[in-house]
């Protein structure tokens, strides 16, 4: 006999033994549990408490994982090597390259009225989004 058939036959034994309990009313189920030496109320309370604890643990774990993911992203952001030059002319050249590679809509695209600090901030934002061109070797 294959393992699968063996396991099916065993499951039918379990189903057979479960049948009387399935046919019982809620009160009869309580009585049956009591007869087997169990306090049905305590058992139900324990199961509910266990399920609540498991749900809480699951949420806490999910929250911890999210927090760890966020912290890792922040760390990666701070650890990244900046490609932004310090010279204004070079910064403008990097921006023009980025604009050619990606459809960017930015105010003052001709740099008129944009201070070097504003230009740097703009490049930093593009860098964080991964939109700056790679450094040429």
């Amino acid at each position: 006999m294959t393992d699968s058939k063996r396991s099916d036959r065993l499951e039918r034994i379990v189903e057979t033994l479960m049948e009387p309990f399935e046919k019982m009313t809620p009160e009869e189920r309580r009585a049956d549990l009591r007869e087997s030496g169990l306090d049905p109320d305590a058992m139900v309370q324990e199961v509910r408490a266990d399920f609540a604890r498991i749900a809480k643990e699951y949420k806490q774990r999910a929250l911890r994982e999210m927090q760890a993911g966020y912290e890792a992203a922040v760390e990666r952001f701070h650890a990244r090597k900046s490609h932004i030059p310090t010279d204004v002319g070079a910064m403008q050249a990097v921006y023009v390259k980025a604009q050619r590679a990606h459809p960017l809509t930015v105010q003052h695209r001709d740099f008129a009225g944009m201070s070097p600090d504003e230009l740097r901030q703009l490049l930093e934002q593009l860098d964080a989004l991964g939109l700056l061109p790679d450094e040429e070797p």
Binding site: R6, T16, L17, M18, P20, F21, E22, R29, V44, Y58
Partner: protein, 210 residues
């Protein structure tokens, strides 16, 4: 059997669905799942060691909640948990079988200390012989259960009939002279015998291990 395969995406329960179902579950349904877990544990006695129905229920719920066991929302939550319990306890039994087989093989070929320990524990445990639900090497779990009802032809007919795929009504008809109430009463008695036969002191109450 609860598997991810075959469950359409729109039928897969979310974490919120599982939480809501757990909040809605009735006391009678909890009793049903508990009873099912208890019977499963009794039937795979030995493989379940000293585990309790609560552990099986908690594990089934945990795996449903973290979505490693997909719940198809078209199926009742209770049936789903029963399916996961069936699968988990089946895995325990398989693992136990492999563990014992490997243990025997390694004993023959020189063995390692851990499997020797497992075999020594089993051999040294006086309840191994006393517990009819722990199959010997030569017999399987099914035979171990049948052994409990040796001499009780009605019980054996019921179990054999069901294992061969007969329905309750067919068995009642074939046996004759018995109505559904008497049948259920007999099966309830049989369930108690299985529970009693599978009762073993817990691990912590065992004597010192050798």
């Amino acid at each position: 059997m609860a598997t991810k395969r075959g469950v359409p995406a729109e039928k897969k329960a979310t974490v919120a669905d599982v939480e809501a179902a757990a909040a809605r579950i009735t006391d009678a349904e909890i009793a049903e799942i508990y009873k099912y877990a208890e019977i499963r544990i009794r039937v795979i006695r030995g493989a379940a060691d000293s585990r309790e129905p609560h552990e099986l229920m908690n594990e089934a719920f945990r795996r449903t909640l973290d979505l490693t066991r997909t719940w198809n929302v078209d199926k009742s939550f209770v049936q789903h948990l029963r399916d996961v319990i069936e699968s988990l306890s089946g895995n325990w039994a398989d693992h136990y079988r492999v563990q014992m087989t490997q243990g025997r093989d390694q004993v023959v070929s020189g063995s390692d200390s851990r499997t020797d320990e497992i075999l020594a524990e089993t051999a040294a445990d006086p309840r191994s012989e006393a517990d009819p639900l722990i199959p010997s090497d030569e017999e399987d779990r099914e035979s171990a259960i049948l052994r409990i009802f040796e001499g009780d032809q009605l019980a054996l007919d019921i179990i054999n009939g069901r294992m061969d795929g007969l329905t309750t009504d067919e068995i009642i008809e074939i046996i004759g002279g018995m109505d559904k109430t008497k049948y259920l009463s007999k099966v309830r008695w049989m369930q108690r015998q299985v529970s009693k036969a599978g009762l073993r002191p817990r691990t912590k109450e065992r004597g010192p291990r050798q």
